[in-house]
């Protein structure tokens, strides 16, 4: 039963083959049994989850059910959830019970979905392996020696290990797509501005975007229908007509022009990943698509640009954590400044501190133009590269990550190596374009490989169509590690 699609769960609930309370109880049991090994969840609250399940059962009984009513969804612990501990993977917020709901949480609540628990993540979403979490690393369900990716590592693990039918993630430089790839699941970062950032604890405001993580493109479409939509509380939220992201799933792919950026098929990609990607591209050609080489000349600069802009915004966004109104306050301190310095030194982990320092530096007097403005200019050049490329193709493909999942501890002492795991993903955050990852086979040590699909602004329905048609033709997304 844990392998069912969202549609199948919904059907079972509608046909009263199972109640939401029963379904929720089953998943809670599974989490209880397996989470100690995976560490995918930071908080599980049976009481709150079951209360939501009972309410969902009433909605179903009253004939008011929507496509997600009664279905358990794992929420990344970056979304403020009223009455739930919301830690963002940090000691700083290890005592923070949110007094309000994020926009995304409200939308799931209104849809009657059940919050099955809050998933583990890299601290403040800063990391690519889930090893920076205050709550300890998460294991990759395909290989317990491997990382699940990050920062939405707990979410990816929970879906892959079937601890939850689906999950939410957030993506600032690849934090949905990279763990989705490493755990063999599907995940999409929508166009910037489609998913409300209200209540989503900010890492880098101009890059952060929430999105769904699930077993298939079809599931992602259903989740996107719930997650997206205008939120007046977020100034960057876009006012657009509602759309059904599942509307184009069945379209044939004949004539689809797939752009392959030569910069992404250059050195850096490992052989095993390349093989899997080439096979996937062959499959697409079989489905009637044609592949075209395109060029994104500034794409290699995405990582340096990202590591200026994201830390700069983060350094400011994380200034509110001062131990005054909520969160960690040092036990002993001298004066006010000492209280701030100790609380922040104790509350933040090494990676978060490192990024705050980078960000503080690039914004500081005398360096702003050379780093921050320079990076913003390059950001424009990178965006222009993509816009140019879309004149020649409908969609861009490449590997999501240069390698399959690395081992726990393998890169945790080497920040630069860690940063380079987002080499293909961060450009989509800089441009604000939608991008997704779907599983397309296995590489070394039988660890999953993800295909990166990048679309033009607002082309989510088309991307999901492209992903779904592949998933109809192949079975990689149905493979489960458990």
């Amino acid at each position: 039963m844990f392998n069912a699609s969202l549609k199948q769960f919904s059907l079972q609930l509608a046909e009263k083959k199972i109640s939401s309370t029963e379904l929720t109880t089953e998943f809670l049991k599974r989490i209880k049994a397996l989470n100690p090994e995976y560490n995918a969840f930071i908080t599980v609250n049976e009481e709150l989850s079951l209360a939501q399940a009972r309410a969902a059962d009433q909605m179903i009984a009253a004939g008011q059910a929507g496509p997600l009513t009664g279905i358990p969804i794992a929420q990344k612990d970056i979304f403020c959830t009223k009455g739930w501990l919301t830690t963002c993977g940090s000691k700083m917020l290890s005592n923070f019970v949110s007094p309000y709901d994020a926009g995304v949480i409200e939308r799931f609540n209104q849809a009657g979905a059940v919050n099955i628990g809050k998933t583990n993540m890299d601290e403040f979403a800063m990391g690519s392996s889930n090893e920076t979490s205050f709550y300890g690393p998460v294991k990759n369900p395909w290989d317990h020696a491997a990382v699940p990716g990050g920062s939405s590592g707990g979410a990816a693990c929970a879906v892959a290990a079937r601890l939850s039918p689906a999950a939410t993630g957030t993506d600032t430089g690849g934090s949905i797509r990279q763990p989705a790839a490493l755990c063999g699941i599907s995940g999409i970062k929508p166009t910037y501005g489609l998913v409300s950032r209200y209540g989503m604890i900010a890492f880098a405001s101009s890059l952060d975007q929430g999105g769904p993580m699930a077993k298939s493109a079809e599931d992602l479409a259903l989740l996107l229908n719930i997650m997206t939509g205008f939120d007046p509380r977020d100034s960057t939220s876009l006012q657009r007509n509602a759309e059904d992201y599942a509307r184009d799933l069945q379209k044939p792919l004949a004539g689809l022009r797939i752009g392959l950026p030569k910069e992404y098929f250059a050195e850096g990609m490992s052989k095993d990943v390349e093989n899997a990607i080439e096979k996937a591209l062959d499959e697409y050609r079989k489905l009637g698509a044609q592949t075209i080489e395109v060029s994104l000349p500034n794409a290699p600069l995405a990582i340096p640009v990202y590591y200026v802009l994201a830390p700069a915004e983060a350094s400011s966004n994380l200034s509110r954590f001062d131990g005054v109104r909520y969160g960690h306050r040092a036990k002993s301190y001298g004066d006010l400044a000492d209280m701030y310095r100790k609380s922040r030194a104790e509350g933040f982990g090494a990676e978060v501190k490192r990024r705050i320092l980078i960000g503080t530096y690039v914004l500081s007097h005398g360096y702003y133009d050379a780093y921050y403005i320079k990076a913003q200019k390059l950001r424009r050049l990178i965006a222009q590269d993509f816009t140019e490329a879309y004149k020649q193709c409908d969609i861009i493909m490449g590997p999501t990550t240069p390698t399959v999942a690395f081992n726990l501890g393998e890169k945790s002492g080497d920040p630069i190596q860690m940063y380079l795991s987002d080499i293909y993903t961060s450009a989509a955050n800089l441009t604000g374009m939608p991008a997704m990852s779907i599983p397309v086979g296995f590489g070394d040590k039988n660890r999953p490989v993800g295909l990166h699909i990048i679309g033009n602004y607002f082309s989510e329905a088309q991307m999901l169509n492209v992903a779904h048609q592949y998933q109809l033709a192949t079975g990689w997304h149905l493979q489960s590690p458990v």
Binding site: P99, Y326, L381, A383
Partner: protein, 95 residues
């Protein structure tokens, strides 16, 4: 560009993060590596390019001037480290 330990300490001071000598030295090594990576940006001529702050070229939406919030002090202060008489307490503020 070369960072020094005193640069690291100055930034940490600006960021209000306590850092000791050993941590500063360790951080210096890592930051230097990261800044080497960042320096690759300087190879591109961007003199004719406008900085890009936002992914979408949309403008600020305005909220009507209306009071929509009610007093939730008790709830909000239930998660505060130290409060008294409705105030958040901090070590003496000296002006």
């Amino acid at each position: 560009m070369t960072l020094s330990v005193s640069d690291v300490k100055r930034i940490a001071d600006l960021a209000y993060i306590e850092i000791d000598e050993d941590e500063a030295k360790e951080t210096l090594i890592q930051l230097s590596g990261i800044f080497n990576l960042i320096e690759t940006m300087q190879a591109v001529d961007t003199s004719a390019v406008e900085p890009m702050s936002h992914a979408q070229s949309v403008t600020q939406r305005l909220r009507e001037d209306a009071v929509t919030e009610t007093d939730q002090r008790e709830l909000y202060q239930s998660i505060a480290p130290q409060v008294e008489a409705g105030l958040y307490l901090v070590p003496q503020v000296i002006e």
